[in-house]
Amino acid sequence: MAEAGTAGSDKRPTGRTKIATETKTLKVGDAAPDFTLRAHDGRTITLSALRGQRVVIAFMAFAFSGT
């Protein structure tokens, strides 16, 4: 596994280990499966209600874990 580092002046991470550009169920070009989830601020978020906007979804391991 390559070590993550920081490139000189532009701060872009280097040596990142991109595991995959698809998931076990999805690839680029697929329709995003809809979901409705509760958010930290009390809202209920439904992905399909965000049509018309670009959405970045970050799956993360655990709160407070630094990951």
Binding site: R16, T25, L26, A31, P33, H40, V56, F59, F64, G66
Partner: protein, 88 residues
């Protein structure tokens, strides 16, 4: 938005600690990891999602997937570049 399998109460405390106000942290707590599993990023051995960034365009189509190691910083420039390619 962020998605974890933590309870919403944990996410609220975490967002407050980080000062997050501009985007939601969403709870995939119960049924545990159901959305993470549907999106193919659930780690069945550990019980939490893999670290992944997925960009969805305005029509609801997936345009970018980056599954990466824990503790590695996502390449924000690359994500911004992908967003720039999409119609807003």
């Amino acid at each position: 938005m962020g998605i974890t399998c933590d309870a919403v109460y944990s996410l609220k405390a975490w967002a407050e600690q980080l000062g997050i106000t501009s985007y939601p942290f969403c709870s995939d707590f119960w049924p545990h990891g159901a959305i993470s599993r549907a999106w193919g990023v659930f780690n069945e051995e550990i019980g939490r999602p893999e670290r992944a960034i997925i960009v969805v365009d305005a029509a609801g189509v997936i345009r970018y997937i980056d599954v990466h190691q824990l503790r590695e910083v996502p390449d924000e420039a690359e994500i911004a570049e992908e967003l720039g390619k999409l119609e807003s």
